[in-house]
């Protein structure tokens, strides 16, 4: 069991754990952001470079620092490793550069985009990004492509994280979409305009960190902060049936899978649950979904009676466990 120190917090993790997963075990502010790595899907990670960290001590046996910043999602920990994430100015500077690169071709049409409010790139840009771009050339644009009647593809917003491709590869028996072309002109597309109609294809909406893949049945219906997420379930033959329904008054506007604390899908759901069951009578509604109070979705969203009565947040889950310490 190797011991690793991340931002001054020590933790013992199983062999073969990556730095990112070790940081996620600690939790809190020191978890590096990840746009492409998805623990629920195999062979993801290594594309976006937002999870860069500094390894100041390789291991107990070889205490030399690693010469360059490492991708935490695919670097495994070694015993005695010392890692800096938010305590290293070098990492923060590098991450700022990565965000700037990710935003070079991103249209920044957040006022129009349905993902706004739950978009990871928006969070990342807010935290690290510059207000203005230094890029003067026209942004990359694509011809609009129809990939089916349930999923809307906005290729201009895509950051090529490959998560949706991995979903199709690992969840559905036959993948009909992938990344075409290379480099600057690479794009997500369906092979010869095949529409995506597999039972689990809708999950690519949930795994997409940006607004490139969005739900057509929810398109422009409402902003996410006006709908109330509620945990719900139903008996489904194809999937677990455990979902989050997004309600406006007594109407269900959207159904998504449940997310864990790393904003990853807990259990993938089928398209029938996602797109067709929009009647509240179809679902057994359990309780309001837990939303981080810093999220815009938490506006007017009350989770328990104590909170309602006191008007403040008393949930001990919301208090971060460990604080990062600066190494002297």
């Amino acid at each position: 069991m190797p011991k690793v120190t991340i931002d001054g917090i020590e933790i013992e993790v199983p062999d073969g754990t990556t730095i990112l997963n070790a940081a996620r075990m600690i939790g809190g502010k020191i978890v590096p952001p990840a746009m492409c790595y998805y623990s629920k899907l195999k062979t993801t990670g290594g594309y976006c470079r937002t999870c860069l960290v500094k390894v100041v001590q390789g291991s107990a046996k070889d205490p030399r620092p690693m010469p360059k910043l490492m991708v935490s999602c695919s670097t495994t920990v070694q015993d005695g490793m010392v890692v800096q994430n938010i305590t290293s100015p070098e990492v923060m500077e590098a991450r700022r550069g990565v965000v700037e690169f990710l935003l070079i071709n991103h249209p920044l049409d957040c006022p129009i985009c349905d993902q706004a409010g739950e978009c990871k790139l928006q969070d990342l840009g807010y935290e690290h990004g510059l207000q203005k771009t230094r890029y003067e050339f026209p942004r990359r644009t694509f011809e609009k492509e129809d990939i089916g009647d349930k999923i809307k593809l906005h290729m201009t917003r895509c950051i090529l994280c490959y998560r949706c491709v991995k979903v199709a590869e690992q969840l559905t028996p036959k993948r009909v979409h992938g990344v075409m072309n290379r480099g600057d002109v690479a794009e997500i597309s369906t092979y010869i305009k095949n529409s995506i109609d597999n039972d689990f294809s809708g999950n690519m909406i949930d795994v997409c960190p940006v607004g490139a893949l969005t739900d057509k049945t929810f398109r422009f219906q409402s902003r996410v902060w006006y709908v109330k997420p509620m945990d719900a379930h139903r008996d489904c033959k194809k999937c677990s049936g455990k979902v989050v329904v997004w309600m406006k008054d007594e109407e269900i506007l959207r159904v998504t899978a449940r997310m864990d604390k790393n904003n990853e899908v807990e259990e993938f759901i089928c398209n029938e649950c996602r797109f067709e069951k929009k009647d509240p009578a179809d679902w057994v509604i359990e309780k309001p979904t837990h939303i981080d109070r810093h999220s815009v979705i938490a506006q007017n969203h009350y989770e328990d009676e104590k909170q309602l009565q006191l008007g403040k947040f008393t949930d001990p889950k919301m208090i971060p466990k460990a604080e990062p310490k600066l190494k002297k």
Partner: protein
């Protein structure tokens, strides 16, 4: 009985003197004050014939701006409504159809946009929240009404008429103007013709 307040005064019921009983000095005193006001500067004006000049930061009735081509700037992003402390703003978004590019600037637009003028407190937070420079508060005063429903202003009253633009340039700071024209901001570029690189 215990007094309900410490500030109460006991009313005196003393008898008035003869001069006080005449009331004439008191009447004259009152008339003197009235007469004095004839020779003072008037504090009132003849509204609506005469109007006072407003401060440049006066916050009156809202306007939804059009861009230089006459297309509506508002894209129904909902940020004004989320910023509104009085929850006076509601909207419904719709998708722009092909051929409506001259009507709406962006892919999405507000098909319904309502401000309840009875709820609005004219704080101007909607104006500050707007990322598209679409909503502004103007120096116009909201008309009075007898029916509550008529004070829920829809797009017919809020969007500026295409031939009768409402000037809000006094409300635009240097930063706002730069925000609207700087090519570094993505929203100043229109994706009219998507081309495959």
């Amino acid at each position: 009985m215990q007094a309900l307040t410490t500030r109460s005064k006991v009313a005196s019921n003393k008898k008035m003197t003869f001069v006080e009983k005449l009331y004439i000095p008191a009447i004259l005193g009152g008339l003197r004050i009235t007469l004095n006001h004839f020779f003072k500067k008037k504090v009132t004006i003849q509204y609506p014939e005469q109007k006072r000049e407003f401060a440049p930061v006066f916050r009156g009735q809202h306007v939804l701006k059009r861009d230089e081509n006459g297309a509506e700037r508002c894209t129904a992003c909902g940020l004004c409504a989320v910023a509104c402390p009085a929850e006076a703003i509601t909207m419904t978004a719709a998708e722009r159809k092909p051929g409506e590019e001259s009507l709406y600037r962006e892919e999405k637009y507000a098909s319904v946009y309502e401000i309840n003028m009875l709820r609005c407190i004219f704080c101007g937070l909607c104006e500050e929240a707007c990322p598209k420079e679409a909503i502004f508060l103007t120096d116009r005063i909201v008309d009075t009404e007898y029916v509550r429903q008529n004070l829920v202003f829809g797009k017919d009253k809020l969007v500026e008429p295409i031939n009768n633009r409402i000037d809000v340039s006094v409300r635009e700071t240097k930063e706002t103007r730069e925000f609207k024209t700087h090519p570094g901001y993505a929203h100043n570029k229109l994706y009219t013709k998507p081309s495959k690189a």
